[in-house]
Structures are given as structure tokens and as C-alpha cells.
């Protein structure tokens, strides 16, 4: 006799409608305004860097998974995000073959070789950028444009405000704040438009893709250090400019919050964010580089397993935190 077959599973029998894809698409939506502003200020060249970076990231992921006979997962959107994030950290005038090298490093070396989505211990986009920085230091530090709405072909290369501040030849004045808030300053493609990054970050917070812990502790600790340690004496203005200019907002909302490479516990997230902020400012103020966000996050990435281990939430009914 044919008996009807019923599905038998362990509990629970319902699941939230959330998914990896949805999370990734929310991140893409959140990144879009800043990326668009990058194209607005740095022109088609920026668009080309973004396009090549995303395309090569997706192709490398698919190729690697094909060759290693794994299911091809490029549809989950994570490779697109890695490509886009990488492009957003690159100078717009970079030779167009360089993002391909960066994407290869990010996707193949950092992400797939360690097991793919969720298994990498470094932020792939930032690791890709760091490798480019080490290999091609000169274009990576000078290939910046002066922003020029709908940038023309003969765009002028210029130094970033952070570089000028580092060399002590520039102190921001009132119009500079407005410019950096709008994104009308020199810098990497996706890092200049503070308002767009803040809007995207807010969107992620509202959609509960990220929590406040990492961005707030990152920005706050960097701001406080910039305020206290400014070589020209304590200055609120300089502190604010440090937050708005450079990659700090991009890093705080979109890089440091990368799931696989950030802590999962609330306390851990605060420690992680604060650590990122401190290292960023130490590099900016005392190091050889004008910008330290990328290295700060990469260094803190390495501490994540340790941070998680010692910041376990307190278990209900058990007095001691952890153990």
C-alpha cells in the first residue's frame, strides 16, 4: 500500500525570509549613492575602474569555482560587492589593468583559497587594495583627480587633502568641510562623498544589516584621537575633517562591518571598531602614509577570533561573562 509521505525535520519548522542574497543586495543598494557620486566627480574613468573591478571579481570567482568544481555562487552578490568596494578604494586615474590584479588578489588569494564566502579572515577588497599598494605604490598614491563635475578627459591629477595635511601645507577651512561632505575633493573613487556614505550607512542600520557598534566606535575613537593628538593643538575642526575626508566613513560603515572579518559579539564589535579608529589615526598622524583606514581594518581583522573568544555575551543565569 502506498503511504503518503510527510516531511520530517528537526525544529524549528519556519524560517525568516532573510537570505544571504538579500543581505548582499542591501549592501549594494547602500553603496550605490557613494559610487554614483564618485562617477559624478571623477568622470567616466572612475566608471571604467568600477566596471572592470566588478567584472573581473565576478569572473575570477566563477572561474575559480568552475576549475575547482564547486557550485558557482556569483549570483549571491558577494563578488560584486568585493569588486565594487575594491574600486571605491582605488584612485580614479589608476591604469585600467590594475583593478584586475586587485580583484584577483581579493577573490582568489584572500577569499576562495581560504574556502570562499564566510571563510576569509581578511577583508578581500582591502587586502586587494593593500596588495596593489605594495606592488604599485606610485600610481596608487598619486593617480588622483581634482574633482570636476562630470569630469572631462583632461582632468588634472592632484594630491588628496589628507596628503596635503600630512605634509603640513593644508589646513581645512569652512568651504572645505562642505566640499568633503558633498564629495567635491580629491580622493579614491568611493570615499569622498560623505553624505552619500552616511546615507548608505544609515540604510544598512535601518535594514538591520549592520549594528551601530562598529561604525560608531570606529568613528568616535578616530575623532577623539584626531581631536587630542592634532600636531597643531587640539582642534575640533581638524577632527571633523579627519572623519569626513579620506576613507574613514567608507571603512567604518562598509569595510569594518564585513561579516566574516568582524566580531559577532556586541562588546567585540565595539573593541574592534575602536581598535580600527586608533590604528587609523596612529598611521595618519605618525606613520608614513597619509591614509590608514585600510591597514587599520586589516590589522584588526587578524584579531577577530581572539576578540570573539574573550567577549562572549553573558549567558542567562550565569554570573560570569564567558567561561
Amino acid at each position: 500500500m502506498e503511504r503518503p509521505r510527510y516531511t520530517v525535520t528537526a525544529t524549528p519548522h519556519i524560517r525568516a525570509s532573510d537570505s544571504i542574497e538579500r543581505t548582499m543586495y542591501y549592501v549594494l543598494i547602500a553603496l550605490a549613492p557613494a559610487a554614483v557620486m564618485g562617477v559624478v566627480f571623477f568622470g567616466l574613468r572612475a566608471l571604467a575602474v568600477i566596471g572592470i573591478s566588478i567584472a573581473s571579481a565576478v569572473i575570477f570567482e566563477a572561474l575559480y569555482q568552475k576549475l575547482t568544481r564547486k557550485p558557482v555562487t556569483v549570483k549571491d552578490g558577494s563578488a560584486v560587492i568585493t569588486g565594487l568596494l575594491l574600486a571605491m578604494t582605488l584612485p580614479p586615474a589608476l591604469p585600467l589593468w590594475m583593478p584586475v590584479i586587485g580583484s584577483f588578489a581579493a577573490i582568489v588569494l584572500v577569499k576562495q583559497l581560504f574556502g570562499g564566502l564566510g571563510h576569509n579572515f581578511l577583508n578581500p577588497a582591502l587586502a586587494g587594495r593593500a596588495i596593489l599598494m605594495a606592488a604599485y605604490a606610485s600610481p596608487m598614491t598619486v593617480a588622483f583627480y581634482t574633482p570636476n563635475v562630470w569630469g572631462s578627459v583632461d582632468a588634472v591629477t592632484s594630491a588628496t587633502p589628507l596628503l596635503l595635511m600630512e605634509s603640513g601645507v593644508f589646513t581645512p577651512s569652512a568651504p572645505d568641510f562642505l566640499a568633503s561632505f558633498a564629495g567635491n575633493i580629491g580622493g579614491s573613487i568611493g570615499e569622498t562623498a560623505a553624505f552619500a556614505l552616511l546615507a548608505g550607512g544609515l540604510f544598512l542600520l535601518v535594514k538591520k544589516v549592520i549594528t551601530w557598534h562598529i561604525p560608531v566606535s570606529f568613528i568616535a575613537s578616530a575623532g577623539v584621537l584626531a581631536f587630542l593628538l592634532n600636531p597643531g593643538g587640539v582642534s575640533g575642526g581638524i577632527a571633523l575633517y579627519h572623519i569626513l575626508a579620506g576613507g574613514l566613513l567608507l571603512g567604518a560603515f562598509f569595510m569594518a562591518t564585513d561579516y566574516p572579518t568582524s566580531p559577532v559579539t556586541p562588546v567585540g564589535k565595539v573593541i574592534f571598531g575602536a581598535g580600527c579608529g586608533v590604528i587609523t589615526m596612529v598611521i595618519r598622524l605618525y606613520g608614513g602614509y597619509p591614509e590608514g583606514v585600510a591597514y587599520a581594518i586589516l590589522l584588526m581583522n587578524l584579531a577577530v577570533p581572539l576578540i570573539d573568544r574573550y567577549t562572549r555575551p553573558r549567558v542567562l543565569g550565569i554570573k560570569k561573562r564567558g567561561a
Partner: protein
């Protein structure tokens, strides 16, 4: 309570009154001897015996046990091993219903608890076969008899009903609020120094208002709670109501509490005021495959197959049968299971409702940590469980898991977190015994 989740409620069945039906004449009524936590009963009737409604047919000398009664009159035709709603095997007495519903002489004798000693009250509760109706089935007379060094200052009536779909507690409050109050009075008689709290989630506004109107004593209050799963879990409930934490591995009595499900309280009322042993269950029957979803008063012993027939059949063949709520209920492969004291809801899901997407790799979003009501790290426990790292599993407090299912529910990668954790946890609990 901290954290927790809020799944779609699907509580439309709260709108219609509880319906009632008799078991079919000639139906086989199956009474498992294990319907509670503790030692199984032994049958005290033999094949061929004629039995009456409310007659005790199984009992045990053990301390942690609770007798079993018939719910129909008829003839004992078999004593055999069956599968219970908890998925375990149990010896069972099988009675064929003669449809006459002759009451046993021990039934229908109201008992004035105020004239009884504490011990007499407890032994009467035991005699009536009352166990926790929240689903676990812990014998009530044992729960109401904490060691003398435990100073009980609060009796909490659990009417949180936090599981989606379930509305049986909600309906029973709306229809029998007086019985809730009188039942609670019995509990407060046993614990004269305690105050009574009736804890209800705030998605049951009408029940809260009704109970507030019925309050008879300054020692009793109704506490509305935020609608959030697993608010009705004992430890979480105590945390919400009293800001006290039951110590790991401990019991509510360790923090001065007794928690009783609202339907258990009504069962106490029925035992003392009407002399009825525990014989019925209010059951939410819902899910896309059910033709007439709603709440039904069901006599123990009926098979789920007979229930489906009695309530008008199915809309379509279900894909999944769940006994209990969708978060913690047990899925079954057959309808041929008897209703017992620990049966709660009965959910018949369509293919769409029972769809669970494939498991993917964890990408460490940390949502399971953000939502775990106990404060665990399910992603880590899952890793340890799968690798059989028992030491690390215990170090990360895996044994304190309440198996509520929040982590699996919320996980965007659809990891089977609860499953892996509860498997190891239960293995370890079994090894401890």
C-alpha cells in the same frame, strides 16, 4: 527577556470560539502510559475490562509520575506499544469507545481544598493526573511541592503563548476567565505568602482587559509582556516578570517562583470545583492544509486521524505534520498518534509552508548571537557540535541552550543551528543519567 525573534503570528484562529466534538462511537482510544515527564505508569486494567469516563487506568508508585485516566466509557481491547506525540515509544491501554460516556463514580465530586491539608491537596492533584499543559508535562503535584528551604514568593501563570499559530491559551482565557482566577486562588492557597502574576503577551489585548476586570485580590496582577518569542519559556518569562535569572541548571523555585501554564490552572479548577481528572486538551488546529482551522476541545486518546475527520477533513494533503508550535513542535510521519497530555497544537503545513531553503555556509553575520535569548553563540556551538568538540561545546555553555529555535529561524544562511546544538546537548544529557 533579552533578544528573541518575532515571526509572523498567523493567529487568525483566535477569532473563533472553541469548538467541541465527541470521539466517534467504536473508535479505538489509545492511552499511553507515559504522558508526562517521569516514570511511566503501569496499566491497572486488563484486556476485556469495562471502563468508564475518568476512570484511572494507569498508575505508578514512583515519586515523579502521574496517573492516566480514560476519557470515554467502553472496553479495554488491547495493551500495546505505541508512538506518542513526543516521538517516543510507550506502553498504552487501548479502549473501544461505546459512545455512552458513563462517568466513573470517582468523577464529578467537587472537593473543597480549603478544608484539606497541603499534603491532601497535592495528593488529590496527583490523583487527577494533572501535569503541565505547556507541552513538557511535568507532574504538577511535584512542581507545587518544592523543598521547604525554597521560599516561594511568586506564582506566575504562563499565558504568554509566544509560538506562532497557537491561540488555544488565548481562547481559553476569553472563554473561561473565571476558572483562571479560581484556579490561581488554589495555587495561592498553597503558597499563602506568594503574589500571583498572570503573564500575557500584549498581542492578546482582549484577554488582558478581561483578566484585569476579573481580578479579585490585591495579591494578583495581570502583566502584559512584549510580544516576542520565546517569551513563554520559563526562564525568559521569569526574567521578564521579575528581573530574576534562574541559575544555569537550576529551576524556577531557586529564584522563588512557581510557573504554571494557564491551561494547567484551569485543569486545577476543573479538578477541585467539578471533580474532573485531566481528560481534555484545547488544541489549535491550523495550517494551510486544514479545511476548518480553529481551536478544538479534544479528549485524550483520540488519534489525530480521527480528529481530522471530526473537524471536517483536509483542504489538501499536507506536506508536513507538526504536533506543537512551528518553533518547537515535533514533526511526524503519520496521523496514527494518540492525543496525550503533552499534545499541544496540531499544524498541517502545505508544501509552501513547510519549505526550508537549503543550508549554506555561515558568513558570520552574527544574527544568531544578536537574537539568542539565552546569550549563547550558536554559530560557534554549531561548529563545535559538528566537529564533536564536546569540551568547547560545554565551555561555550551549549548545555544552557533552551532549544527555542530562534537561531535557526533568523539565520540568513539557513544553517541548522538548533538541530546540531540540541543533538549534542541531548546526547550529553542522556550520558549524564
Amino acid at each position: 527577556m533579552k533578544r528573541g525573534v518575532h515571526p509572523p503570528e498567523n493567529k487568525e484562529t483566535a477569532l473563533t470560539p472553541i469548538r467541541y466534538f465527541f470521539p466517534r462511537n467504536g473508535a479505538e482510544m489509545v492511552y499511553p502510559m507515559q504522558q508526562h515527564i517521569g516514570t511511566p505508569c503501569e496499566p491497572i486494567v486488563a484486556i476485556g475490562d469495562s471502563v468508564e469516563v475518568g476512570q484511572k487506568i494507569g498508575d505508578s508508585d514512583a515519586f515523579l509520575s502521574s496517573p492516566v485516566h480514560t476519557t470515554v466509557s467502553g472496553t479495554v481491547v488491547d495493551i500495546r506499544t505505541v508512538i506518542t506525540p513526543t516521538g517516543r515509544k510507550s506502553n498504552a491501554v487501548v479502549v473501544v469507545n461505546d459512545g455512552k460516556y458513563r462517568d466513573h463514580p470517582t468523577c464529578n465530586k467537587a472537593v473543597d481544598y480549603k478544608t484539606l491539608s497541603r499534603g491532601e491537596i497535592l495528593s488529590y492533584i496527583r490523583e487527577c493526573g494533572i501535569v503541565g499543559m505547556g507541552g513538557a508535562g511535568f507532574p504538577t503535584h511535584v512542581k507545587l511541592n518544592p523543598p521547604p528551604d525554597k521560599n516561594i514568593d511568586t506564582v506566575i501563570v504562563n499565558a504568554a503563548e509566544c509560538e506562532p499559530y497557537l491561540t488555544n491559551d488565548h481562547r481559553v482565557i476569553l472563554e473561561e476567565p473565571k476558572q483562571v482566577m479560581l484556579g490561581l486562588e488554589i495555587l495561592l492557597h498553597l503558597f499563602p505568602d506568594a503574589e500571583g502574576i498572570i503573564a500575557v503577551e500584549d498581542n492578546k489585548r482582549d484577554a488582558i482587559e478581561l483578566l484585569k476586570k476579573m481580578i479579585y485580590s490585591p495579591k494578583v496582577r495581570v502583566m502584559p509582556m512584549k510580544t516576542r518569542y520565546p517569551q513563554g519559556s520559563e526562564k525568559q518569562l521569569i526574567q521578564t516578570c521579575l528581573k530574576r535569572e534562574v541559575p544555569g541548571g537550576g529551576y524556577p523555585m531557586d529564584v522563588g517562583c512557581i510557573v504554571q501554564n494557564v491551561d494547567t490552572v484551569i485543569a486545577l479548577h476543573r479538578a477541585f470545583y467539578r471533580g474532573r481528572p485531566l481528560m481534555r486538551k484545547i488544541m489549535t488546529i491550523a495550517g494551510g492544509a486544514v479545511l476548518n482551522p480553529g481551536n478544538y476541545k479534544v479528549r485524550f486518546g483520540m488519534s489525530y486521524r480521527d480528529i481530522i475527520e471530526a473537524i471536517g477533513g483536509l483542504k489538501r494533503d499536507p506536506h508536513k505534520i507538526v504536533i506543537g508550535g512551528p518553533m518547537m513542535g515535533i514533526s511526524h510521519y503519520t496521523f496514527d498518534i494518540p492525543v496525550t497530555k503533552t499534545s499541544s497544537a496540531f499544524l498541517l503545513f502545505t508544501e509552501k509552508e513547510s519549505k526550508i531553503p537549503p543550508e549554506r555556509d555561515c558568513f558570520r553575520c552574527g544574527k544568531c548571537v544578536d537574537y539568542c535569548p539565552t546569550g549563547l553563540m550558536p554559530l560557534e556551538l554549531n561548529k563545535f557540535a559538528r566537529a564533536d568538540h564536546i569540551g568547547r561545546f560545554k565551555e561555550y555553555n551549549g548545555m544552557d541552550c533552551i532549544e527555542c529555535g530562534c537561531c535557526s529561524y533568523i539565520c540568513p544562511a539557513k544553517r541548522h543551528l538548533t538541530q546540531s546544538i540540541s543533538t549534542i546537548r541531548r546526547e550529553q544529557l542522556a550520558a549524564r543519567k
